[in-house]
Amino acid sequence: MSLLSTQKLSRSFGGLKAVDNVDFELESGQIHALIGPNGAGKTTFVSLLCGRLRPDSGKIRFGGQEITRLPAHERVALGIAYTFQITSIYANLSVFDNVALAAASAARRPNGNRDVRAATHDALERTGLRSRASETAGTLSYGHRRLVEIAMGLALKPKLLILDEPTQGLANSEISDFKNLAAGLKQTTTLLLIEHNMDVVMDLADSVTVLNFGQVLATGPRETIRSNPAVQSAYLGT
């Protein structure tokens, strides 16, 4: 079943068509990767999905409801969570408080978990941050700050979690931890992953969409994408 879809979604910056007539379908319960060269429009596209940017034209539907004009915070309430490509956390607050703000937001929903403390601890546990709960978030290493970002995403209990380059700048061991975490998440949430690391994409993703110059170059199961000649020449480079 389609959780999210877009129809002819477009957004330009000046003369540049960053996202150009994109039709996109996201199946529930999948890990879907969004790949493409730098400047292909990936971040712009997910920014349109989560409401950080408004589209020039086109429609976005989520869970059977049109959300094209909905402000970002209301989309979060519907269950769309976004983790930033450039880490955006509360640097002056503790790790616990960072994640608790996300859990408290989720608790306001009709069926939300009212026990914010427990939900926070759960998200910290799953990201391996529990022992650092009382540390000030801004003093953490880069990799741990990325994990705080992901923990906030988890604590929101989203139906759709959009991860914008989650493994960028991580060490190999951290990447393999992330892969385990993401694979485990699949049970409860749909993941849309912007990712440059092709190993991660090929290990994790059920399906892949390739963007190039703001347009969909190809979309489908990962095996099909891997063997698609157009994709290989545009992006995979083999």
């Binding site: 950080r52 915070h73 976004y82 955006s88 640097a91 937001s105």
Partner: protein
Amino acid sequence: MTGVLNRSAILHIGVVILLFALQFVLPPYHHTNMARIMTLAVFAMGYNVAFGYTGLLSLGHALFFASGLYAAGLLIQMGGWSALPAFSMALIAGGGLALLVGVLALRTTGVAFMIVTLMFAQAGYLTVLYLGEWTRGDEGLVLPAASRTIGSLDLTNDTTRYFCALALFSIALLGCYLLARSSTGRVLIAMRENEERSRMLGYDPLRYRLTALVISAVMSAAAGAAYGVLFGYVGATFASIQYSIFPLLWVLLGGAGTVLGPFLGVLLMTYLVDLAGDVTSAHLLVVGIALVLTVLFAPRGLLGTVRARWLPWLP
């Protein structure tokens, strides 16, 4: 965690008890001074909700202080209202005005917000002067002593005035204490720290910033109304830019984003001006130097520094 709650609760209750006890030992001059400091501390605490907790740097809070002052003053003077209903109306006036100003001014952030709030406050100040027929402009109004009563309480009496100021101060302090520890308070801090992140966690920035501004304005209006009723004078000076800058300075000195900081700021600043006035006519220079030193060596203000260095549990 209960230990933490007890420590900070005991500290704040202790301050109120200390102020209660002080009234029996203070000489008359300092007695009146403390009543004034507690009233203005409510203004400072109100400002702190917007600036210290939510990060809204307003340069127009004289508007909210004066709205309470004039709402109460004019209702008493012209409408013949008694003090308590006039005070209640003043809270509504302050809150309503903040709602109006907020919806417009909160479209902006940072420097633009400072300028827009400054402009609104100047418009308020000029309105007071323009309506001189009723407000008597700079000269102001002296409220008749007969109207300054709550039931059988005579607010012109020093002791009664002190206790009324203390009661208002205690309510405001308790309110700020509870707000700082509440889930709403945490979201306000989140707005200050990272608005974009907060939005992407599902919190509507406009709603929370407007809430903070209205709470802040109601407290400022309460302080303004109380000031008029307790000290019997309502004048245009209180609507001038000076009274927009004062709360900022008090809060910076005492510690932005701390519950007791605003009170400490008003207390120190008042006595600093007082003491400096005994030594030199350039007492504002002394205040200026104190502020420069604060910003250089304790940029989080006195209590903010104490919290960062020694007492992380301070709310």
